[in-house]
Every structure is written in C-alpha cells, then in structure tokens.
Point group: C2
Chain length 335, copies 2
DNA sequence: TTGTAAGCGTTATCAC
DNA sequence: GTGATAACGCTTACAA
C-alpha cells in the first residue's frame, strides 16, 4: 500500500504538505492541494490509520463493550450507537464481556490499548470501585444502563425501578392480587431494581411479594419457561405473572401453551424491554418500553460532545420507561 | 500510561529486552525476565497495541463487515466469530454495511486501513468484480454467505438453493399444490437462490410458480405481514406459504391471526433460517435450519488457518441446510 | 504557504 | 543473553 512518502514524491512536495491536505485544516494553496490530490488518486493512497493514531494519539474510534453480540437487546443498542458515529465519521470497535468480571475487564483493557478515544460500556459484572478507578485514567467513558453515584455525569440509564413499578402497577390496576414474578439474575443491578419497583407497587396495595411466587431466571427464554413450570408446579395460585424481560416472557408464553394454559384467559403476562419481537408473540406481549436504541444513540452523543467537542449536542442522561399495553394482560376475573 | 521505555529504566535493562519478555520468544535469563516482570507489574504497564501494530505490521485484529448489527441473524453470526477468536487471543473490529454498495466499500476501506490482519465479509451490494480486485490486495478475506466462482477457496456459504428446495418440497409432500411465496429482495443472491430452489421443487411436481402468488418482501417482519395481506387480497387461493426468512414468516403469522386466519388450519407457513425466536412463535415455526453461528465460527477458523498458520484447523466451506418441521405446516386437506 | 525534523511506542536486525 | 539503533507511517511544532 502506498505511503504518504510516495505521495509526496510523486506530487513533488514534502511529507508535511501531504499530511496537511489530508487533514485539510492548514492553508495549502489550491494548486499544491490539487497536485497532492492527483498523486493520491493515482497511487490509490489510503492513510494508514494505525500510524495516524500513533502519531496523533487520536484514533477516531470508539470502543464499545457489551455483554453479548446477539439478542434483540444488544443489537438495537449497537445499531443506535453505530448510526450516530457513522454520521460523525467516527468508527467503532466492539468487544463482548459476557457478563463476567474477568472478561469485562479484559475487554476494557483491550479497548484502551487500541487507543480508543472513548469507551461506551455496558458492563454488569465489574465493580463500582473498578469503574471509579478507571475514571481516573485517561480514556473517557460513558456507562450505559448502570448508575454509579460517584460517576453520575457519565451514566446514561433507564429508571428500572420505575419500570418494575409500572409493570406491576398495571397488573394491580387490572384487579390482579396474586402476582408471580420471574426475575433476572439477582446479582445484576437492573434485575434487582426492577424487582424493587415490583415490591413498591405491591406495597401501595398493602401487598408483599410472595416467596412461593418468585423465581430467579436468567433473562433468557428458557429461564422463562422453566420459571413458569416451577411456579405452576408449586401449586400456589396466581392470576398474573411479571417477567423481568421479554425473552423470559416469551419463553413463559410458549411454556404456558404447552402446558395447556391460555394467556391472558388463565393468567396475564407482562414483560420488560419492548424488544422487536414482543409485537410478534401470541398473544402480543404487554410490556415496558426500554428505549435502548435511543439510549445507545445518546451515549454516542455524549462522546461526541465530551470528547470531540461538538458542543451543540444535547445529552439526556436518565430515560423513563413506559407501559405498552397489548394483549397478554387482561382484567382479573375475581379480585 | 507507562511505556516500554519506563519499564526498561525501572528494570535496568534495555528496550529490546523488555520487548523480548513481552513476546516471550527469545531466550532471556530468568533473572532478567523476573526483573522486567516486576517492573511491569509495578508500573501497571500495558503494551500499546497501536504501536505494536505499526512496528510489526500485525494487529492481531480481524475486521468484520456485516449488513446490520441488529437482528437475530447477524447477532448469531457475530457471536460465532467472536467466540472463536477470543479463544485464540485475537480481537475483532466490526463495521456495518447496511446492504449498500457505497457503505460496504467504505467499511472495507476502513477495516483495511486499521491494518486488520484479515477480513470476514458478509457483503451483499458490492460486485463480484470489486471482490476479485480486492483479492489482489494484501489483506486476506473470507466471504460469508456468498459464492464467487473465482474466489471459491475464500467462500463459506450455505446452499440456499437446496434450502429453498427443501422448504417447498416439504410442503408438496404434505399435499400442498397452491403455494404462495414471499421472497426477499430479489437483487440479493440468497433471496434469488432460495426462490430458484422453490421453483425446482415445484418443477418436480410439474408445477410452476404462480405470479399471482408471488410477493417480493424485504426480509423483515413488516414485509411478511404486507406480503400476506397482498396475497390474501389478490383472491387467488393457496393452502401454503413459504417465506424466504423467519422474520417475514413471523410477520405473516401475526398478520394471519389479525385477519382471522388460523395457521396451519387455514394454510401452512414455512420460514427459513431457524433463528432463535422461531421456536417461540405461535404456532412454532417450521423452517429451514441455517447454521449461521457455526458458519461464522468456520469463517474465523479459516482466518486462523490461512492467516495465523494454525494448520491443525480444519475448515468446511459449504454448509447444507436442513428441514426443521414444527407446528406451522400441516397436511393439505384436499390435494 | 511550504519544508525540516523530532517524536508516537513498539519490533527487529545487528552487533557485542 | 543483552543492548544499540533503525524502521513502521504519520502528525506537528518550528523554521524558512
């Protein structure tokens, strides 16, 4: 591949001049600029961005760490981020953390060592303390879907507690009093927050969560189906089920059908996230909207504003979930 | 961040020695090695991989270009790739091509300029000619889900024609004779190949595809629902519907229900891809399995073998689809 | 407006 | 075994 040196030779100018036309900031005479441009064209020159990064300690690339590369949730998030950066001419390096502390830290290290200008982190297993330490180092970062008090200005998050509240509140309003709950892994903050919202809603009706109606799932379809089986097997009656995300709700819906139950006739189900397929389940899943794509976009904007000085950009840090009523929730028959 | 130079100072050795212990290839005395290791530890030294790449023209990173970052299909693919590389200590840089020629070419250029050691390309809009030209340049690449005769040894693909055949063949065997078809965008090779398979299966039964029962969709849910509406509105009767992918099938299933039809009682539906949620639709979607995660993994192995000399690795280039019968296809009532 | 030259943090080729 | 030192391809003062 052609280098800047060959371009400068062909154009009959110095390295510096070529560099200047590439970064078209300095004043270069139109004539010289043209000569250089022609030479570049002729050689099919493409700047080596590794060398650019090393020299400028600026890579125009942003590191993204997500838990997984698959799944409806992360896909939306990545798309929101990538779209915003592409429009700004920045690029994206992606790593997966798999919700494990060691892998997450490793991923962050990798991203940092690639001289990313900034990081967007969706981390779950790493400690707050680690993040606080990280914030003292040179690479700026935003946290997606995580609240760390000491790092508040770097957090873009959803009010998960409110979402949890909204879901259960909806059920209560429909007359349900015996409400089962399939949670996410309780070591994850968002899973806990959603459950706390659930508890708060119950408390408003002088109810408390029933241990016999609680199942800790894994945020995946199979967690939902296993959870439902367990709940049904326990024998404790319930007229509604809240699942801490849509994947588990979808698994629960399918398991319910297999076990001969009809939703919402036999019991109502509500999910969380409003992922794409929630509209295509049967019955259509009532759920809580999580504007994840918009939040990804906002994280990207934060970077554009804080790191690339695009000061006109406005950033919203806390997002509110809201209820999406569809067909999987119905009124309770006898309150 | 500490540099190799500071490490060498602290350890009282030369740059070269530090470099040697990092790449633990050369013979360094245990004593020296320990000194260096201690110094690294003390400084929290992390090699700057940009500098490493520049000096070694080896980045240990592989560029991946996919059409989209979201959707059940690409997510699985990326996961398959990432898992294989992570195990090998390689890293991944991802760009999205959005099925547009300009964006795809731009993405490839970006990846090349980041000194990726190799590229894994899932490109749809770029021409064969472009790829052939690209193959003359220095960066090696594999093509996923694309067959270019001149580049056969770099292609990892699914026999889409066979898949299309299998889907329709299944329907025919169940006694269906009036079969509607919702295709993908016909400018895409895989969409065309699947349709050709459909035609071949029909031909075996002395049937031909009926234009009035053909709708060109977009590989997305809404394409499936629009397609079904259009087919139903056209008034031409059919007892089975093949959708060129699962997303459209899911959209069709939902639309059918809304319009008062029951699947498979009123007509059968078959999809293509066997994405994760195909098991969670209602009825469970009969479909054609596309081992996309395994194929992503295989693309990664191709790179490991060809680029990183891991000769023990075996690569399979052509994958075969197979039928996954579930609940959305039933026997035709009257043949 | 253009050129010279000193980095950027490594690797790799020589010597010793 | 270990140490100088020249690349790697570019940016960026500082001069001219």
């Amino acid at each position: 591949m052609a280098t800047i040196y060959q371009v400068s030779e062909l154009a009959g100018v110095s390295l510096a001049t070529v560099s200047r036309v590439m970064n078209n900031n300095a004043r270069v005479s139109d004539k010289t600029r043209d000569k250089v441009l022609v030479a570049m064209e002729q050689l099919g020159y493409r700047p080596n961005s590794i060398a650019q990064s090393l020299a400028s300690s600026r890579s125009n690339s942003i590191g993204i760490l997500v838990s997984e590369l698959h799944g409806p949730f992360y896909g939306e998030m990545l798309t929101g981020i990538e779209a915003e950066f592409r429009a700004a001419g920045k690029h994206v390096i992606i790593a997966a953390g798999h919700s494990e502390r060691a892998t997450e830290e490793e991923g962050i290290d990798f991203l940092r060592s690639r001289s990313c200008d900034a990081l967007i982190l969706h981390v779950e297993a790493v400690t707050d303390q680690y993040l606080i330490e990280l914030s003292k180092k040179e690479t700026p970062f935003v946290l997606l879907n995580r609240q760390v008090a000491a790092l508040a200005e770097r957090c873009i998050s959803l009010d998960n507690e409110l979402g949890g509240y909204l879901a259960t509140h909806h059920l209560l309003q429909q007359g349900h009093r015996h409400i089962a709950y399939i949670a996410g892994p309780m070591w994850k903050t968002d899973a806990r927050d959603r459950f706390h919202g659930h508890q708060r809603a119950l408390a408003e009706y002088q109810l408390t969560a029933d241990d016999a109606l609680f199942f800790e799932g894994d945020f995946r379809e199979t967690g939902g189906s296993k959870g439902l089986q367990w709940l049904l097997a326990s024998g404790r009656p319930f007229s509604a089920l809240v699942c801490a995300n849509d994947e588990m709700a979808s698994g629960a819906l399918t398991a319910a059908r297999e076990l001969g139950y009809e939703v919402p006739a036999n019991f109502s189900v509500i999910g969380f996230d409003n992922v794409n397929f929630a509209y295509y389940t049967y019955p259509k899943l009532s759920t809580i909207d999580y504007p994840i794509s918009a939040m990804g976009q906002m994280a990207a904007r934060w970077v554009l504003q804080q790191v690339y000085q695009q000061s006109s950009i406005v950033v919203q840090q806390v997002f509110s979930p809201h209820l999406i009523p569809r067909d999987s929730v119905a009124e309770a028959l006898h309150t």
